[in-house]
């Protein structure tokens, strides 16, 4: 059988990816812009093309708790959420990672109230960076499908056993239609092993799970968790290579660098905005400018070595992100800065797209120009050196 092609939205691509992974249990709770994922899965179960137990639950908190319950019996599971729903799950996120339950969940990146907004930014998942989950951010519908399959392989890997959150930009990716290639079930079988959970509950060898531990041992469990996500770095690359061998599509592991090797000016991105930045890089390169874009694919584990390796030539780096940790800077920027703390490079944080605000092509062009200007004016910038720059916000003169 040959892989088929289909014109689908990001949400639908996720549903197809999940279907191919054949989860035993799916827990569903609606929230815009994720809802289409669980609706499509319901249709697949109803039509018989997917054999799963499909549960409707009464909240996101329960959705995650329910799939944890199923997972500890050795079931492969799926649930999806977004924004307020993800935050409502927060307690259970920590629970799942501490319990080393290899769940896979899709999150549609959406702004967090207040003010209310159903549109996209990445403040929901980035605010839960410390919850112990592996976080991957995808760029297009094809990657959405492919990463659902890779996510199961990563989470369930015996050296990792850590839940994985696959993040799609709300609307921009979840609701945009693209033509994707759907792997055949033979390809999936070759790639994705059956879920074997050594820790699972067993009637003949009963277990007591999710216990409390004294301060003496507690830190040991936390060390294990940290180690497991560190282990994931090599596992992620290994699994991506295996996926590429089966489907011809690979994503390069923790980061995806485009024309960074000799670039003076690099924008670091997360998620779907990368496509637009890459177009701008093409354009500026044709004009002879040495620019590049480095897409961070995984926020945890964080690709610190990869960022250092790909930005060796860079003079100025802009970190463009749909996030702000109020009172400091964007979370991606904080992480990138830490990775580059010993490197001789200037960094500027561009906060954009909050609450779904469009990021225009000209704004990206302007960012590259600013990076250039910053360098040309040596270390003392003519552009007033704010730590964080809000793109597309006209700051009143007296505040500038």
């Amino acid at each position: 059988m040959e892989p088929t092609k289909k014109f689908v939205s990001g949400d639908e691509a996720v549903a197809i990816g999940v279907k191919l992974a054949k989860p035993h249990v799916i827990a569903a709770y609606p929230i815009t812009p994720q809802t289409i994922v669980v609706e499509r899965l319901a249709e697949m179960v109803e039509s018989g093309e997917l054999e799963s137990e499909y549960m409707y639950v009464e909240s996101e908190h329960s959705a995650l708790a329910a799939v944890m319950g199923a997972s500890v019996l050795g079931a492969r599971t799926f649930t999806a959420t977004s924004s307020q729903g993800l935050l409502y799950m927060a307690e259970v996120l920590h629970y799942a990672s501490g319990g080393r339950v290899p769940l896979v969940m899709m999150n549609a990146n959406r702004s967090v109230a207040l003010p209310w907004s159903i549109f996209g930014d990445q403040r929901d998942s980035l605010s839960l960076l410390d919850s112990g989950w592996i976080q991957v951010y995808v760029e297009d519908a094809q990657e959405s499908l492919d990463m659902m399959l890779q996510a199961y392989a990563i989470a369930e890997h015996p050296d990792v056993l850590t839940p994985v959150m696959v993040n799609l930009d709300g609307f921009i990716l979840t609701h945009t239609y693209e033509c994707i290639e759907i792997p055949t079930s033979e390809q999936v079988e070759t790639f994705l092993p059956k879920f074997e959970f050594a820790n699972k509950m067993d009637i003949n060898e009963p277990k007591n799970l999710f216990f409390s531990s004294s301060p003496e041992h507690n830190i040991g469990f936390k060390y294990q968790q940290h180690k497991a996500i560190e282990n994931a770095k090599s596992v992620i690359e290994e699994i991506d290579k295996k996926y590429e061998a089966v489907t011809t599509r690979g994503y390069g592991g923790l980061v995806d660098a485009y024309k960074c090797d000799d670039a003076d000016y690099i924008i670091i991105t997360l998620g779907s905005i990368t496509g637009l930045v890459r177009d701008v890089v093409e354009e500026l390169r044709s004009e002879g400018q040495k620019v590049g874009v480095l897409k961070v694919r995984y926020m945890r584990p964080f690709p610190d070595e990869e960022i250092r390796a790909y930005t060796k030539a860079a003079k100025v780096i802009g970190v463009l992100e749909k996030d702000i940790s109020f009172g400091y800077q964007g979370t991606v920027f904080t992480n990138v800065s830490a990775a580059l703390r010993e490197c001789d490079v200037q960094l500027i944080n561009y906060v954009a797209g909050l609450g779904g605000k469009n990021i225009a092509r000209e704004e990206i062009v302007h960012i590259y120009k600013e990076l250039n200007d910053t360098e040309n004016k040596s270390k003392v910038s003519a552009v007033k050196s704010q730590a964080v720059r809000f793109v597309g916000v006209e700051v009143p003169k007296d505040e500038d």
Binding site: N199, E205, H217, F221
Partner: protein
Amino acid sequence: MSRRKVDKTFKISSIKDLPCGTYGKAMQLTETMEGWRNEAPIIDEKTCSLCNWCYLVCPEGVIYQEDKKMKIDYRFCKGCGICAKECRKKCIIMEREEK
């Protein structure tokens, strides 16, 4: 019947001894509770009618019938006194223990 075994030698000397995540063997007992009590129940075999009521009301499950006698697993008895109070034949007394 056999009572639950206790492994008092169980020790975690390094991280390697910890399970991968919060997963333990069911009924893994490493300590006993006799130190909790001030009084211990004593069953008078002569008046006991083996009605098993004390076995039912015990919060610890330490009272059991064996060889036509009610026995107590004193390792885990906390000396709450429910058995003595509830005994219909009044054949259990609580006796002060010297420490």
